[in-house]
Symmetry: D2
Subunit: 282 residues, 4 copies
């Protein structure tokens, strides 16, 4: 089937070898594609090569993929996608600021995403969510084992088959039984400048330590709490006059902006994950 002239995103990562850029761009050139933007990076520490190319043209994706597979190392990861909107499910608890911001951005199509549903263990954000015509699933954790609750949450999320799952201030720790279903597809906003103040109550920890700067970190979630690959961080200055509650209040704006910026990068296929780090072509 002949594809419409449109924009594609080609992502390749593999062990580095001589001439990769030349070979890859050759396949694109000979398939009549028009490179709009090209970024590559070689991690000399690990000898790994990363490349992301946006191109348009009349080419047949299967022909390009065949051409590439014929000349690249066997351990290569290749994806060739169009810039279509990604489906996401959001998990939240009681705090509204990240969810509000995402619902607004969803409504006005500020991010390359379609919010399919919100799942929460509290009723608090139900009305807000429905205001934006997004389904809200209340799955209370009360009177349930953690296993049961997680199984229900997992089922609700999976019923949507989302591309990504976003923890927008979801205040329960997810066990590896859940997170393992979404490798490199589960994104969390942590309310501290990781790895400072891992775990609960980071603003209280920051207050007690007397730091002069606080921050927020958006990261992929893996099996270890707060230790997944970091996507985006930002900070604000504080001083002695701010209580832990003041810090939490000031931190909310950082959290929502950091999460939105991280999602923009992920949803535009700009983020590679290698071991416990991200390579990002902004």
């Amino acid at each position: 089937m002949e594809l419409q002239k449109s924009t594609y995103i080609l992502r390749i990562d593999c062990p580095d070898q001589k001439g990769l850029v030349h070979k890859i761009t050759g396949v694109l050139y000979h398939n009549d594609s028009n490179v709009i933007r090209n970024d590559e990076f070689v991690d000399h520490a690990t000898g790994h090569f990363f490349m992301r190319t946006e191109f348009s043209g009349q080419a047949q994706p299967s022909k390009i993929l065949n051409g590439l597979h014929g000349m690249l190392p066997t351990q290569v990861n290749i994806s060739l996608t169009t810039t279509q909107t990604k489906n996401v499910v959001i998990l939240a608890t009681k705090e509204h600021h990240c969810l509000s911001d995402l619902l607004i951005r969803n409504k006005f199509k500020d991010l390359n995403m379609n919010v399919q549903a919100v799942v929460s263990n509290h009723e608090t954000l139900h009305e807000l969510t429905e205001k934006f015509d997004v389904p809200f699933h209340l799955i209370s954790h009360e009177n349930k084992s953690r296993e049961t609750h997680e199984a229900e949450v997992l089922a609700a999320v999976q019923s949507y088959q989302p591309d990504y799952v976003i923890l927008a201030k979801y205040m329960r720790i997810l066990s590896p039984e859940v997170t393992s279903h979404f490798p490199n597809r589960l994104i969390n906003i942590h309310h501290s400048f990781l790895p400072a103040f891992i775990g609960a109550n980071p603003y209280k920890q920051a207050f007690e330590r007397g730091v002069k700067i606080i921050g927020a970190t958006a990261h992929f979630v893996n099996e270890n709490l707060d230790e997944g690959p970091i996507i985006m961080q930002d900070v604000i200055r504080i001083d002695h006059s701010q209580t832990a509650a003041d810090m939490a209040r000031a931190g909310r704006d950082v959290e929502k902006i950091v999460l939105a910026k991280a999602l923009k990068l992920v949803l535009e296929d700009r983020v590679f994950i290698k071991d416990n780090k991200t390579i990002i072509f902004e």
Copy 2:
């Protein structure tokens, strides 16, 4: 003795009670002093009051101090000083950037300090220091016990009776035997955004964790490594393309500026220490 018309800095901290500002400013007012700037802060968590006042006038300091002691709580800390230059001794090892910056600032009187001497366990920075006509003490740690080396360093520092001791990338850990001689007078620059990456090789730790922001922290040193009261912090953005060595290089400018800014605050008597935190009237 009648004092010259000059600038004084009055610093008071004590348990809070009603009317403190009124009473303190009353003593100043009735002693004919001219308040140039006044800052106060009540830490409602601990119920503690802090006040710093710059004033000029013909007043007799002893009269002001007597007046204040008569009306303030018995556990009060009061100091009344002029804005005279503080004496400092700097400890360094091999990295030049913080020491260079301080020697330059010392030469051009950019900070309210007089660098009396540099003490180092290596010869590397000897020539630089002498360029600026500052005595350099090489106290090698080789072929000595830690105790012996520290005793020699301590003796060298104490021979100058400095107001403050500055660790300008001094790469040896000082034991409590040394640090206890300089309570609230020993300032370190740590090459990370504390409390992230405590201890050795923070840039390597930052590289391995894949953070997107690195920083530096100037703090008072107490008996616990990297855990004293924080004075100043700042950060810079990094990305996947930077190695640990690149981060260290980029971090040097942050370190030297953070240290200089922290020293400015301390040397102008703007920093109060309470428990493990600083209250700073910038």
Copy 3:
């Protein structure tokens, strides 16, 4: 009438003279009030004194005001208010990001304000506004003289008798006939780092000049476009790869956060205006 024990904000500005802090805090002390926080500043360039005090207590406001007027210079400005919510009317055009952010904050009471209405010259943001149960007034400028349109807008705004009027990306220039009705009560968000790129299309101007940082400025509006007292500014880095449209997109988050931060300061009575500048006690 006996007042409830509650929080008051006392704001005073007047020509500086000796002993002002002592005298003012004396009135509070003798009226049994409990100072929670006190900030003062003397602008030595103009010889002007500013003071803001938060206090609680059983005092009668009229007694405090009488006490103060008896001892302060005659050209003094005094206000003594409670921390009640301020009423605001928002003007917007087609861009949603600042309005969305304010409607969300209004719903969750993140700011000390009550949004009474939104007035716009376009229909675009009607549905969004009503989602949040805020009245929306469409006042189209089409087929009308500027005078007529402005008169209609002014009438709509004034019908609410708001404490403040917020221009949340209102893309029409208001003539002095309108702005003069809201001295020190009309707040605009300008999408550049003023005074760079005054006027229309600042992102296009920034793109053409090739700057490496862009910003946003929240300011009071006076009779001269973009020249009123600045309340808050912030910036983000950009690079050669960003088009004017990319900058506008990235700038939106800065605009909405800067506007919200500026409003927080104004709505908590932390901002003094003197000549063309602000004095802000954060």
Copy 4:
């Protein structure tokens, strides 16, 4: 002549056309060079292509250049250089902070430069410069016409045949007769966030405007004052309590760091200039 295995920097810019990356990397590949890092950018507004490649290998530069010229558009700019140290002459006046910082970096080889000489119209920085064993040329402007003074300065600078000329707080405006000798080779640090506060006394202008952020800008100098291509900018926050002199003091650290960062980029051949903008591969 066979070259040593070493690092080269290839820089190409030309009108964009299909397949450029493929063709250029092909020449490198077939000449046995090892690409260490490759960056390219297409400015879609102007249809111009920019590429910078670091590579090592045994290749003959002339063969690579011939290969490239044979296949690239005729209006191409190509340079192929090694990473050798650049020679620079610094112009300064009385303020020491930028010059000090550069002399220190020069001594410790923190930048890819060799400071050949300092030229100044005042004696103030003579002793500092000689401390670092760098020749100092005093060329006073007193009792001379501008033309005569500039001719003397130009002669002094040109006697060194520097790669770059750095204006490190040189407080005299250079006429086009001088600047035209150093197209894209003359770098200035301006003490404001351009284009805000062009011209003299930017801190005074900033103080009078009441801005909340000040900055510094490193830029290439062309015939129009303060209007050349911007390389680097940074900012710091200020508040109402800071006088113009305080801002100048705080600004110095920004100026020296911005200048050093800009020089790092230029001296590593990372900066392209196109019309009035820079394209920078950091």
